[in-house]
Every structure is written in C-alpha cells, then in structure tokens.
Symmetry: C2
Subunit: 359 residues, 2 copies
C-alpha cells in the first residue's frame, strides 16, 4: 500500500477535499454549530476541522479560547487566498477569541534561508499591515516574531523529546533537521498561549497545513506535564488560481495578490479560465458553466456577498445571458473596488503597525 | 566495514585515546606551541585537538580569541573530572581569551526532560559557583543560559538547514528530533561569539564531545553567509573513576564529586582500585605499579603539582616503599585539603553568583 502524505512544504496538494476528510480522519464542518457563520462557512468553503465542537461550545458559552495563525515572510507578495484564512481569524476574534498572529521568521530562516532582518522588515512593511487591512483588529491581535518570543522558542526545545524521527517520517514523508526544527517550533507556536492560561485554541488552515496540526496534537497527548488541551483546527478550501490551479500561490501561474495594481488585475482577469464556450454565439445558445469558472469561484468566496445576486448571476451565466467578456468586466470592477478599499486600509494599517512595534 | 561512532550522549566511550587521534582525524597536541603550559598540558593529559595552531598563534601574538564550555544542569553533582576541562578554560582565560560558559538548560530539557526552572536553580546554586570556585574569574567570564540567549537560539534555526539528516546519522549514529535540536543549539553556542566580532574560538572537551565539534566545523564550512572561523578544540584525557572506570561520571560506580564531604572522600578512597599487591609483605618485596593505580592518576592530574615530589612518590611506590594504606591516607589528606579550600571558595562564589544574576 502506497503511503499518502501531505507535504506542507510542497505545492503538490491532494486534489479532492472530500477524500481528505476520510483519509486523514478529519471531522466535517457543521455550519449549524457556529452562531452567525461567515460567508465561507455558510457557502461550504469551510469544510472540515478537528475538535470543532470544543470551540463552538466556547463561543456559545462565552468561555475563553484562542485563535492563531502565522505569517510566512518569504515573499513581498501575499496571495489573495490568504483572505480566506484571515476571514476565519476575524470570525473567531469577533466571537471572543484571543487572537495570535505569529511571524514565522525562524521557520523562514530554517527552511528557506531567509535573513531575520529581511523577514522583520517585510513583516512590518507588508504582511502585518495587510492582515490588519483584511479586518483583524490591530489592538486585539497579538502579533509576535518567533525570533523574539521566549516562551515559543523554549517550549520548542522542551517538546522536542515528545516526537520521534519515525513519526516525522510518517507524518511528513521526510525529516531533514531544518524541517524538524521548523515543525517543532510551529507546535510550540500553536500551544504556547496555553502556558499562561488553560484554554482551547483553534488554528484556521488550508489543508496543506494539517500535518502540523496532527503533530501538534500527537505531541500534546504526550507532553502530559504541560496539561495542554488538544488544539482544534478548521480547514478552508483553497482559492484556486485564475488559471484553474489548485490554489493561489507563488508557484501557480495566474494568481491574484493583495495590493495588485488596477493594471495587474485587468491583465490577470483577462487571462482567467472561464466556464464559457468557444464563441459568444455558442455561449448565447447553449449557456456556460459557472462551476468551471474561476471568476465565479472568486465571486462565491469573496466578491459577491449577497446570495440572491450571486444566484441570479449564476443562473444568467448558465442560460447564456452573460458572456465571458461581460463577466470579466464585472469581476475586474469588483476586484478593483476591493483593492482600492484594501489599499486605503493598508496605508492606515502601516502607520498603526509602526506604532505597535515602535521600540 | 563497521562504522565507528562516538555517541556524546552515551557512557560507552572509545577506550584508547591514541587510536582516536588517527580514527577521527585529530591533531596531536604539541606542548611547545603553548606558552606557560598548565599541569595537564605539561604532563600529557591534554593530548589532541583541532586547529590548535590558530589558537596558539592568537596567544603568542596577543590577538583576540575566545574559549567556551558548557554546564549540563541535569544533576546536583559535578564530578571531579570537570576540573580537567575548567583548568583548560582558566589557561585560556589567563592567556587573553574572552571566556563563555553556557548553561545548557534547553539541551537538558530536550534530551533529559529537565525542567527549565529546576535547571536554572541548580545552575545558580551549584554549577556556576563551582566553576568560579575552580578558578574561573567571575567578572571576566560570560555565563549565560541557552533559554535566555537570543543570538544562540535564533542562530540555531538559521544554521539548521546547513546539516542533513544523513549527516546526523553519520556523525552520531542516530538522529532523534530532540538530539538534532540539542546539537544544532550547541553548534550555535560554539559559534555565537563570532556574530559580533570575527575571532577564532576554542572549546576544551573530553573526547566524547568531539562529534559536536565536527558538526560545528562542517556547518561552519557551509554557512558561508556568516563568515565564521572554524572553531578549534582541545581534548583532555578523562579522569578515570576511582574503581578504574573510563571516566568519572554519574554512571561510574566510584566517582568523586566536587563538594564531597570528608566522610565520602574517606569511603571512596578506601575502595579505590590500586596498583598494589595482595599483601603488604608482597608489596614490600616486589613493589607496586603506579600506572594501574587510580590514586596516582589523581595525583598526576590534580593533586600533586610538584613534579619532583610526584616522581619521588612514583618511584617509592614502584620499589615497595609505600604501601596502599599509606598511599590512600595521603590521597585522602590531599583530597580533603583540596575540598576544604574548594568549599570555602564555593561559598564565596555563591554570593558572587547571586550578585551576577540579580534580576
């Protein structure tokens, strides 16, 4: 039997989200458990997780819990799909979670050779302001750098004897020293809020990060001395690239980035994979398929919040009432609107970030 | 061909120091290179090293260099053999080295599950004062905890991608995550003084620690970005246990510890392995063998500093003029004198340590 791995450092990701639930022992996400679900929850893009009930109980009973996510400061660009994860962070923040956002500068140094100073500048100039501009409350969010967090770094060493080399190989398929160190540090990131206060925590992720969650849970089970509660996770479907690649990312050809210019947006949308026909005539006659259209994926996940308007547009597209050119124009308009608003918020957030990290 | 490993975490150590020089590509120590050599250097107990010339040149030309050693805070007891290493640290300190002594609390946590607070208390109450009492200058020595040193912890992550899993296996024979993390951290300890200032450094060790030196040098060679100078090492022969075990240690039956009471010393010396004969009569007639006598090992390495007096006693022992009972009495007397003096210095050093680490 061929072993199956999810390699969190690779762009080769399993294709079918439903298979994954079964194969890796995840729970299906049940939207009825979460009060006032957000767009991605309502529309089925949040599809699974681990120990979700613990977190929904915290929300319902107003008990303390935390949500955590990370910034990987390897590039100046943040792909648009990041919004899907931050939307979940915002949901939990609005529902009472202590929120932590770590800058994985030591992980970037270990696995990609990124300089710590470079990572710091990048995080302060771009990533943290973008995360705030996406809607995280700057005052309520605890941003930190791995390279400056004593609890996290020391906890990583304390937890290291709770994992074995064979376990690394079983979870990741390989076990190079830099990856071992980066993973253990991530486990420490995920668990460290519990050092001061016993409370459940949740990590919104793309499914590619699930190996870290499994490792964190295995280690939690063994590190009895700390009495940590098993960390929960919540999985958001990937936002595909505009060319139909599994997810927006630096390795996918046609991906949108936060802070893209109007020109870039126009160019990228023009080249997007659509569900349309070869000719306008054919499309008017036979209709088109919104489920194979990357712009509809964007509409559903982020750009059209009103359900009726979305359904109407889907129907019109199916019936051939909307042509690709028109749909692209509309997508371009919505994206440019989004980006202008985002850029304004980003500029404001940069000033906020400077104040937050003034030494 | 069977691979040979030195496992720095095991008590199974190679038996013949001479073989080691060849097998592991060490340099022989040449006493003529080092001005005013200390006792262990003069008497051949300092037997090898790596890049020793670089350090002797620094000493002769009054160039900057550093010496570094570590404290493993896994136990309240420090075996007497530690003095051999500290004697080398003192030599380098007196010959112009910046001296660093790290408390390997994160290594102890990773490889032995030692609690960080427990390690801290132990280091402040026992280890650091003992190291000062052995003769290190408290004011000139930079004591630090791994768990509090930003440079060291961050450098470990930055260096982690310069070693491979196979290399770990080749050097250590195994590669569990906790050991990988502990070793990389040790490499960072060894190299971190060079972050602020380019200078050679030397690490006095027992040969069991040579794998760490080899790993440090391999990583130094690859981490071009940092421009580190290859760290030198100097190897001191083990002080055997009183029962003739390869080295004094917690796992050896009859080992002396710093701070042993008069009673403990008497008991331990009484049971020591000697080079004597079965009966006093036989010993008077045929003489005895100081080379198989553990007390003479102590005399040579630490207790009798005057060469003439040592030679005289060896000759007398060989000729049967000295019986074991008398020799044991003499060893007990010297050890108790040493320990009384040491204890007085230790009490003073405890107060000094408190002032050094007052928060």
């Amino acid at each position: 039997m061929k072993r199956e791995f999810i390699d969190p450092w690779s762009a080769n990701l399993p294709e079918n989200h439903k298979d994954i639930i079964k194969k890796f022992g995840l729970e299906k996400f049940d939207v009825r458990d979460f009060p006032k679900p957000n767009l991605l929850m309502r529309r089925g893009f949040v599809f699974s997780g681990r120990d979700l009930k613990i977190i929904s109980d915290c929300i319902k009973n107003r008990k303390k819990f935390y949500a955590l996510t990370g910034i990987m400061p390897t590039s100046d660009k943040i792909h648009f799909g990041t919004k899907s994860v931050i939307d979940q962070m915002i949901y939990f923040q609005n529902h009472g979670a202590e929120t932590y956002v770590l800058v994985a500068d030591l992980e970037a140094a270990a696995t990609r050779g990124v300089d710590l100073k470079e990572a710091r500048t990048r995080a302060l100039e771009i990533h943290i302001p973008c995360y705030i501009a996406l809607g995280l409350d700057a005052k309520k969010t605890r941003f930190y750098f791995q390279s400056e967090n004593n609890d996290v770094r020391n906890l990583a060493f304390e937890l290291s004897n709770k994992a074995t080399l064979n376990e690394y190989k079983a979870i990741y398929g390989n076990a190079e020293p830099s990856r071992i160190m980066a993973s253990i540090l991530q486990v420490a990131d995920i668990l460290h809020p519990q050092l001061n206060k016993s409370m459940p925590g949740i990590v919104p992720i793309g499914i590619d990060q699930d190996p870290h969650i499994r490792l964190s849970r295995d280690i939690t089970n063994r590190a009895k001395k700390f009495g940590f509660i098993l960390p929960s996770s919540i999985n958001v479907k990937f936002l595909p690239s505009l060319s139909g690649g599994l997810k927006m990312s630096k390795s996918e050809g046609n991906s949108l980035y936060l802070l893209d210019s109007d020109e870039e947006i126009k160019k990228k949308v023009a080249k997007a994979l659509t569900g349309g026909r070869k000719t306008s005539k054919e499309q008017r006659e036979k209709g088109a398929n919104p489920d194979k259209d990357m712009l509809f994926e964007l509409f559903r996940q982020h750009l059209i919040k009103n359900d009726d308007r979305l359904t109407k547009r889907e129907e019109d597209y199916k019936k051939g009432k909307i042509l690709d050119s028109e749909n692209k124009e509309y997508a371009t308009k919505l994206l440019i609107e989004f980006m202008h608003d985002f850029r304004r918020k980003y500029e404001k957030a940069r000033r906020k970030t400077k104040r937050l990290f003034r030494d």
